[in-house]
């Protein structure tokens, strides 16, 4: 039976893992390679490394980080942040990533999705979407808007429609972050996640808002998510992906255990 995935997310700045709410007040939280290996050992089904440096000089540091992190990692490994061209993606794959996550660059040039998919396969392309409900709209969920620049600037696209286009262009998965819920620890936006998950035929990874185990139960049930990103929950009471999954199993969610 296919299991729901718990994906450990590492935000990386200048080659170090950082913690912070909405990319503000960053605290050093260790070495990416060490942290990724620890999460894999402690039961994470996949690792995502999001580079928030996004400077030109940071590119080389990122590739070194990816190389070191991938070396002893034998679970799927995705890398996002600052991937603007198919060449950028090729370098990240060469360094050892299995998937790349593209966001604003794909919005600026949607053919980037086709280009990466053609060279590396659809399974290697994750399209990340930062979403906010549209409170003015008749249907705030179905008409939710795509945002860029850390949720500050609307991209002029509707989330559901952009997710469908990404699928048509050859994306293998959607990483959906609710900017309304992100950092709030009040739960995932299950309505929005379900709306996207029902609109596309590819897996949807839910992100933003997790504070308790019940939030994960909810997003896998009502939210129809195929996977969920776990970041700050590991800092607030739940010690590891394994203990999270043990709780999920008790609640009837199918997960990879033992792991």
């Amino acid at each position: 039976m296919i299991t729901k995935r718990i994906i450990a997310c590492l935000d990386v700045h200048d080659g170090r893992v950082v913690k912070g709410v909405q990319f503000v007040d960053l605290i050093d939280a260790g070495d990416p390679a060490t942290q990724a290996a620890r999460h894999a050992r402690e039961g994470a089904d996949e690792i995502v490394l999001l580079d928030i440096t996004a400077t030109h000089e940071g590119r080389q540091t990122l590739l070194d980080t990816v190389r070191r992190t991938a070396r002893e990692l034998f679970v799927p490994f995705a890398v996002g942040g600052g991937i603007r061209t198919a060449d950028d993606a090729a370098q990240v794959f060469e360094a050892g990533a299995d998937k790349v996550s593209v966001n604003s660059a794909a919005l600026a040039d949607p053919t980037l999705i086709n280009a990466i998919g053609r060279s590396f396969g659809a399974q290697a392309v994750v399209v990340a979407i930062d979403a906010r409900r549209d409170p003015e709209a008749a249907d705030p969920v179905r008409e939710a808007q795509v945002f860029v620049q850390g949720g500050r600037k609307p991209a002029g696209r509707r989330v559901v429609e952009w997710a469908r286009e990404a699928e048509d262009r050859g994306a293998g998965e959607i990483l959906l972050t609710s900017m309304d819920s992100d950092g709030m620890r009040t739960g995932f936006d299950c309505e929005l996640t379900a709306a996207v998950s029902e609109a596309v035929g590819i897996p949807v990874i839910a992100s933003g808002g997790a504070g308790t185990v019940d939030h994960f139960v909810d997003v896998f049930g009502r939210g129809k998510a195929d996977a969920a990103l776990a970041a700050s929950i590991f800092h607030f009471g739940v010690s590891s992906a394994r203990s999270l999954k043990e709780e999920l199993a008790k609640a009837g969610v199918s997960v990879r255990l033992p792991c």
């Binding site: 399974q123 290697a124 590819i202 990879r256």
Partner: protein, 202 residues
């Protein structure tokens, strides 16, 4: 230990090579050195992406070289599209023949309410006499990412359930294939790759 990995430009090989090195093997990569393939001690055909990419194996002579090696009894492991290529073909690229070592064809998952591709960790129902999957216990999981799959037949070494039962591993003597990614399947995957690396003709 020497193992030859065939590069036919379908996705990246980094993960497979890394896992082989971790297990103490010395992988060599070729994208067209036929003598290297014919004389290989062990062969791995990885591959993520489209079945049509296997056309490259025909156009540069690798298909014949692989046939020669397999006939010589060289252990062969196909991963993902590399496994599918062992069959007669795939509906993903109807005009592109596979090796035909296994007579059946690969097909896309049937339409259903489930997501395609099948992405994530799923379990294996292992055939008792499988040498490739020795030591894989019920309840162990491996990582999949694919939209096409091989049918369950007498050569099937493991069955996995998603929408319908399909062959997650195939094995007949020295020719083996896995639909999942052992290089991305944690300790279970490394154990399977290790079994392949220590496979000797009985």
């Amino acid at each position: 230990m020497r193992v030859t990995v065939i590069d036919y430009k379908a996705g990246n090989l980094t993960s497979v090579l890394k896992a082989l090195r971790h297990l103490g093997a010395e992988p060599e990569v070729t994208d067209g050195d036929l003598s290297l393939v014919e004389s290989a001690g062990r062969l791995i055909l990885p591959g993520v992406g489209h079945f049509a990419a296997t056309e490259r194996l025909d156009s540069n002579g690798l298909t014949s070289a692989i046939r020669v090696a397999i006939a010589r009894g060289v252990p062969f492991l196909g991963i993902c599209v590399g496994m599918q290529w062992l069959y007669a073909g795939s509906s993903e690229a109807p005009n592109q023949p596979g090796l035909g070592h296994f007579a059946e064809k690969c097909t896309r998952f049937a339409d259903s309410k489930e997501k395609v591709p099948h992405v994530g960790w799923n379990s294996l129902e292992v055939r008792k006499d499988s040498r490739l999957l020795t030591g894989v216990e019920p309840g162990e999981f491996v990582y999949f990412t694919h939209s096409y799959k091989a049918p369950v037949t007498a050569d099937t070494a493991a069955v996995t359930y998603y929408i319908e039962p399909f062959a997650s591993a195939v094995e007949r003597a020295n020719v083996m294939g896995v639909q999942f990614h052992p290089e991305k399947s944690g300790a279970t995957g490394l154990k399977i790759l290790g079994n392949f690396l220590s496979w000797e003709r009985k």
